[in-house]
């Protein structure tokens, strides 16, 4: 089946350090069997599970043989890379992190406005990027009405603190799910995140065997 793989720079599997063989100029990489790679390095993700594994490079991967289902991932008996998805970039990772943070900011602004703090609410809504949003949210935090603003500031801070954009995006996705639902696995929030990524990455999940 076709799936997706998030890899570190140079097509390296981030947890095991396994360096995937990549094809030359549009060709597929060589097949790798399980006995030639670290345990569980031959893994792929469905589109809906992408927000859990964000990393610097996104690749199409073909999984073959018996597939083992794990929470939010698939392990294959053999696999090969079928090409990098260039729409995933540092810029898009920051955009995704900001989109996540804004989900919390919208709720924070509503709480602030209900409490009569319209100016603070507006400053959250008008923030242009993560940095501005963090600043506005920090200023609005405090008191019961400012609790979600505090969460917004936390999402922005820890995303930016991660340094590498993709890791910051992964942090933002997790913290947003927790801030809005108290559950890092919240289905609604993770579904929204997956749909955002599919849309902005231009992934055509309908024509693929089953990554969606």
């Amino acid at each position: 089946m076709l799936a997706y793989a998030f890899l570190s720079e140079g097509a390296v599997e981030p947890l095991s350090g396994f360096a995937w063989p990549t094809g030359k100029e549009g060709e597929y990489g060589d097949w790798v069997a399980a006995d030639a790679a670290p345990p569980e390095a031959l893994r792929g993700y469905r589109a809906r599970d992408l927000p859990y594994w964000l990393e610097e490079e996104l690749w199409n991967i073909e999984l073959d043989g018996r597939l083992a289902e794990r929470p939010h991932l698939l392990i294959a008996e053999r696999a090969r890379l079928r090409g990098r998805i260039d729409t995933w970039s540092a810029e898009l990772a920051w955009e995704f992190a900001a989109a996540c943070a804004r989900r919390v900011a919208v709720r924070a602004a509503t709480a602030l406005r209900t409490a009569g703090r319209a100016e603070a609410a507006a400053s959250l809504e008008e923030a242009a990027d993560l940095e501005e949003l963090e600043s506005a949210a920090s200023a609005a935090a405090g008191g019961v009405a400012g609790t979600l603003a505090g969460y917004t500031a936390d999402v922005c801070f820890y995303a930016r603190d991660a340094g590498v954009p993709a890791r910051g995006a992964c942090v933002a996705a997790k913290m947003t799910a927790y801030a809005l639902a108290g559950d890092v696995d919240d289905i609604d929030e993770r579904t929204w995140q997956g749909a955002w990524l599919v849309d902005r990455l231009g992934l055509v999940t309908g024509s693929r065997p089953s990554p969606g």
Binding site: P14, L15, G17, P39, E40, Y52, W53, L54, E55, A68, R70, P71, H72, L73, D161, A162, G163, R167, C170, V171, A173, K174, V184, D185
Partner: protein, 81 residues
């Protein structure tokens, strides 16, 4: 183990089992999910990997019998306390 996400403290306690491949499939996945979205834990894991690699490269011959004996004696003494 529950199906709740791991805390950082739990992850640190499970690092050895992770390296040994002794975690259940579900716990391994939860461990890895945490690593991907927690830069400090990721740094900890990478430091552990580096430490294990470096320790694994030290040949046994570099520890003299006297030093080994002294180390074993010290460990025995520590256990009795």
């Amino acid at each position: 183990m529950s199906t709740d996400p791991l805390t950082c403290k739990e992850l640190v306690e499970l690092v050895t089992l992770y390296f040994e491949g002794s975690l259940s499939a579900e716990d391994r996945s939860r461990f890895e999910e945490h690593i991907m979205s927690c830069p400090p834990c990721r740094a900890h894991l990478e430091q552990m990997q580096t430490t294990m690699r470096l320790l694994g490269s030290i040949p046994e011959e570099e520890v003299s019998p006297a030093a080994e004996e002294a180390l074993v004696a010290a460990l025995h003494g520590w256990k009795r306390e």
